[in-house]
Symmetry: C2
Subunit: 166 residues, 2 copies
């Protein structure tokens, strides 16, 4: 089917979407990054040292109390440009078909991304961070303290990916 | 205000919720755990070695292709019993007021939890995993491969929490 960024490629499979949603989310702020076109975004967050800014809406600003003591933060955001019905995908840079849940692609039933960022500072309702790879103006869903005790698994292996690297 | 699990305690602060939602999610499966009451759940996932089962709805089952090669998986789920308007909270086991975004409490504007689990096996649409601490029948939102290269930050520190442990 060609290379349309949001279309379907040969080998990809879609599911019929459910007829109704089950719950809803608020956009609680915006993520400001240097990237305004999908093709400019780093392929993953370790590829870039760019400082990005997370702007939390004034309504939620007091929920930041204590975040400044965190060295790392989990950032949840909404990848609102991706289709939601792909169950098998063929990422262009891999060229092999894999299940959506084995990929970090933005195309998924619930287009919620999770990124681990290094926190540089918090000023008022703005966080300066390193480690994002999303488009400018991406809607923010949540911020969480990153606990190494439960969130770090340095021994983790993604078998299909490790095999490619050999 | 007392100890009501989903009420407000002294020192807690609420925000007025926005008048409308911005996007919606599908529940794509259910998480089966041994815990049916909130007070029975482990305080965090490292406290329990219980094997839990993630049941992905048939509609999305083919999206699991390749997940079996992952040693660890990020699990996103919906904590549908928590209130969403708390910006400052006083967790019972800490007894100090902190911003919602400095806590992993289920009470947050978007009650989306992120857990890192160890994957034991995948059979059809069911995953056996270790590392969850949620209530039985919790709605599933997403599964993602855990990449140590971008998701593991073993050096991370949550300052307010580390100070308590000293």
């Amino acid at each position: 089917m060609g290379d349309d960024d949001y279309g379907i490629r040969a080998g990809e499979v879609t599911a019929e979407l459910p007829q109704h949603f089950d719950a809803s989310v608020y956009f609680i702020g915006r993520i400001r990054t240097p990237w305004t076109r999908r093709e400019d975004c780093p392929k993953n967050a370790r590829e870039s040292d760019a400082v990005c800014t997370i702007e939390v809406d004034a309504r939620w600003a007091s929920a930041l109390r204590g975040v400044e003591t965190c060295s790392h933060v989990l950032v949840l955001y909404w990848m609102d440009k991706a289709r939601r019905d792909l169950v098998v995908q063929v990422p262009r840079h891999y060229g092999e078909a894999r299940g959506t849940f084995a990929l970090r692609s933005p195309a998924r039933p619930n287009p919620i991304a999770v990124s681990v960022v290094r926190l540089l500072n918090v000023r008022d309702n703005k966080l300066s961070v390193v480690g994002l790879d999303c488009l400018d103006n991406t809607p923010l869903l949540d911020l969480k303290p990153y606990f190494a005790s439960t969130d770090a698994a340095p021994e983790a292996v993604v078998g299909w990916h490790a095999k490619r690297e050999r």
